[in-house]
């Protein structure tokens, strides 16, 4: 039966030319089709992405000869021992996690009402424009935006002036870093929440009001629980982007150091690539822990 069908299909396609014949042949060979589709992206994923991660982990086990500066290809846990025992690295790690958490919390607080307005209050034809408005800052260079904030936050700059005079603003430092990072990553929080709210049927809000709930209760009992996964999805972006950042903190952070700065310093000035690799595993590890923790919430399906 099958062979008859194939023969007749082949006979028909022979008339129609080689492209059709190839399509017909591929149609019957699902495995080949799949291979043709996935080979390139799989190569990219395995070689470029996982491969570089593996190199990072392996090189973290190497050391540098203190005298010659040459890399010693001998596996040892010395780098990790230093990181765990030295007070400085613990402080910087905690500070980095604190900054990432603060940025995430600020973004969530700003994004929730904004996304709610976009998805549920604004008229449908304005929604598109609001999404564009949220995305527009992403078209501008990261550096330009960071330097713009440097100008804004300068001593006697616009922010100082708004708050009543020189020295009244936050100036450069940890606060400025959190502020600018929160500004930079805000779209990454708004968009998942907006998508989550847009999928939330209006009838759920109406049903809650219909059953006697006021706006506050509806928000607490219906909206928030339903969009928790969206907030977590957004937090994965804001948290990981903040955790890896080292440019903003250089521009507006004053003397503040985050993990990224230490990695950068070890690659450049200190010329200790293995130690930089060891330091870089800290944010990777934190993100893995974070992802495992949020996996249970179903947030990963929201991405």
């Amino acid at each position: 039966m099958t062979s008859t069908l194939q023969r007749s299909a082949g006979g028909a396609s022979a008339v129609r030319g080689p492209v059709r014949r190839l399509s017909a042949w591929l149609h019957r060979h699902a495995g080949v089709r799949l291979a043709a589709l996935l080979t390139a992206p799989l190569l990219w994923l395995v070689v470029a992405y996982l491969g570089s991660l593996a190199v990072l982990l392996v090189s973290a086990l190497w050391t540098v000869n203190g005298f010659t500066g040459a890399v010693v290809h001998q596996p040892t846990l010395d780098n990790f021992r230093t990181i765990l025992s030295d007070e400085v690295y613990r402080a910087v790690t905690l500070r980095s996690v604190g900054v990432a958490a603060a940025v995430t919390a600020i973004d969530a607080l700003i994004a929730l009402p904004m996304a709610f307005y976009m998805a549920k209050v604004a008229r449908p034809r304005y929604r598109r424009w609001l999404v564009v408005a949220i995305l527009t800052p992403l078209w501008a260079s990261y550096l330009v935006k960071a330097y713009a904030w440097r100008v804004l936050l300068a001593n006697g700059g616009p922010v100082d002036w708004l708050l009543g005079g020189p020295g009244n603003g936050p100036g450069y430092g940890l606060t400025a870093t959190v502020l600018v990072l929160a500004y930079l990553w805000l779209p990454y929080m708004i968009l998942p929440i907006y998508a989550g709210l847009e999928r939330l049927p209006d009838s759920l809000l109406e049903a809650s009001g219909d059953l006697g709930a006021r706006a506050g209760r509806t928000l607490r009992a219906v909206v928030l629980p339903v969009i928790v996964p969206s907030v977590i999805a957004g937090s994965i972006f804001t948290f990981s982007l903040s955790l890896g950042d080292y440019i903003t903190v250089q521009i507006v952070g004053g003397k503040t150091q985050l993990i990224g700065n230490l990695v950068y310093a070890n690659i450049g000035a200190a010329n200790n690539l293995p130690f930089a690799a060891a330091l870089a595993t800290i944010p990777v590890l934190i993100m893995v822990i974070y992802l495992v923790a949020v996996r249970r919430s179903g947030a990963l399906e929201e991405l």
Partner: protein, 360 residues
């Protein structure tokens, strides 16, 4: 079933609603009696759902008033009104269990835990869902979700229950079963039910009274029998049942009268004994035969110049027999009183209808 001396459960006066330039509801006056099972029937876009949403408080009217039990609630929020809604998509909270969904309205009203639990279980029992309280809505079938939505609305004992196309998402068998159940439930709880549907059969079988909507207005209000047997306009005749209209020359020839008349398909006899006393006879040719299991529908082109649909029960015929009738001449007969005069719509109504069309 007029309201009598008691205050109507729902009263609408001069209700209007415009969305931009489109007038979705163009002046509706209606009184629904306490304890009535009331249907709002109409094609999509006829304004029936908008009227329901204005009763619930989800839309505020452009003009007119909404009274519930004699109280003007036009400007009140949904949570201030003693009505509850069963939504077309059921609107069950996905993150709550069935019982939590049903308890939601009680929890909002600060009913104690034990009392809440007791009443929720009772409500679930009344819709035959006992034992499913711990499931999530996603784990239920469409029919079960519909019952949860019913229980959730009924547990707070509203004065009026609004149902927006409550059976629209169910398959035919389940729909027929739920029609019977809804009717029984309404009799049991004694609450006024107002439901919106585009299914004329559903409206006729379930309700005490029907309002037929057309272009944002009510074309006719009456009992199912009134609406079906004595349609107030050609639109009602066509929307509730099959449109079988005799007008102009055909009406003059066959009935000896001027005007528009409606004859329901099942009232017409095909090739039976010749027309007797008090009966009207007509001749024609079968243009189309549609076999539909229990009945066969014949489309007959009358020699007098109209086209009528005739429904015949398949007492002794089968599909093979009836198909052969296509193109053959036939004699029709019906009792003269079954040709019901249908008033033409009043000219001003038609004018504003046309202007409403022009806006779309």
């Amino acid at each position: 079933m007029p309201a009598g001396p008691a205050t109507p459960a729902v009263a609408l006066h001069g209700l209007r609603k415009s969305f931009g330039t489109v007038e979705a509801v163009a002046g509706v006056d209606l009184e629904i009696a306490d304890g009535e099972f009331f249907a709002m029937l109409g094609p999509s876009g006829s304004g029936k759902t908008t009227v329901l949403r204005m009763i619930a408080g989800f839309e505020s009217p452009t003009a007119g008033t909404v009274l519930l039990g004699g109280r003007d609630v036009t400007r009140l929020a949904p949570f201030e009104r003693d009505v509850n809604t069963v939504f077309q998509d059921y609107a069950l909270f996905p993150h709550m269990s069935v019982r939590q969904n049903v308890e939601y309205g009680l929890r909002v009203r600060k009913v104690g835990r034990a009392e809440r639990r007791r009443r929720a279980d009772e409500a679930l029992r009344s819709v035959r869902l006992e034992g499913l309280g711990d499931r999530r809505p996603a784990a239920l079938s469409g029919g079960q979700r519909q019952r949860v939505a019913l229980a959730r609305a009924l547990v707070i004992r509203p004065k009026v229950l609004l149902l927006d196309e409550p059976l629209g998402a169910l398959d035919l068998k389940l729909r027929e079963q739920m029609q019977v159940e809804l009717k029984a439930l309404q009799r049991e709880v004694g609450i006024t039910f107002v439901f919106v549907t585009h299914d004329q059969e559903e409206a006729l079988t379930m309700s005490d009274r029907v309002a037929v909507f057309d272009e944002g207005r009510i074309a006719q209000v009456g009992t199912p029998a009134e609406v079906y047997e004595r349609p107030a306009s050609p639109f009602v005749a066509g929307f509730v049942g099959t449109s079988n209209l005799l007008t102009g020359a055909a009406a003059r020839d066959l009935l000896g009268r001027d005007g528009t008349f409606s004859v329901r398909p099942e009232k017409i006899r095909l090739d039976g004994p010749p027309a007797g006393d008090g009966e009207t006879a007509a001749t024609g040719r079968v243009a189309e035969v549609v076999y539909a299991g229990p009945t066969t529908r014949f489309v007959v082109d009358l020699d007098a110049g109209a086209r009528l649909v005739v429904a015949q029960q398949n007492l002794a015929t089968s599909s093979a027999d009836v198909a052969a009738l296509r193109g053959t001449p036939v004699r029709l007969a019906w009792r003269t009183e079954h040709a019901v005069p249908v008033p033409d719509p009043v000219p001003p109504t038609q004018l504003s209808k046309e202007s409403a069309h022009a806006y779309r």
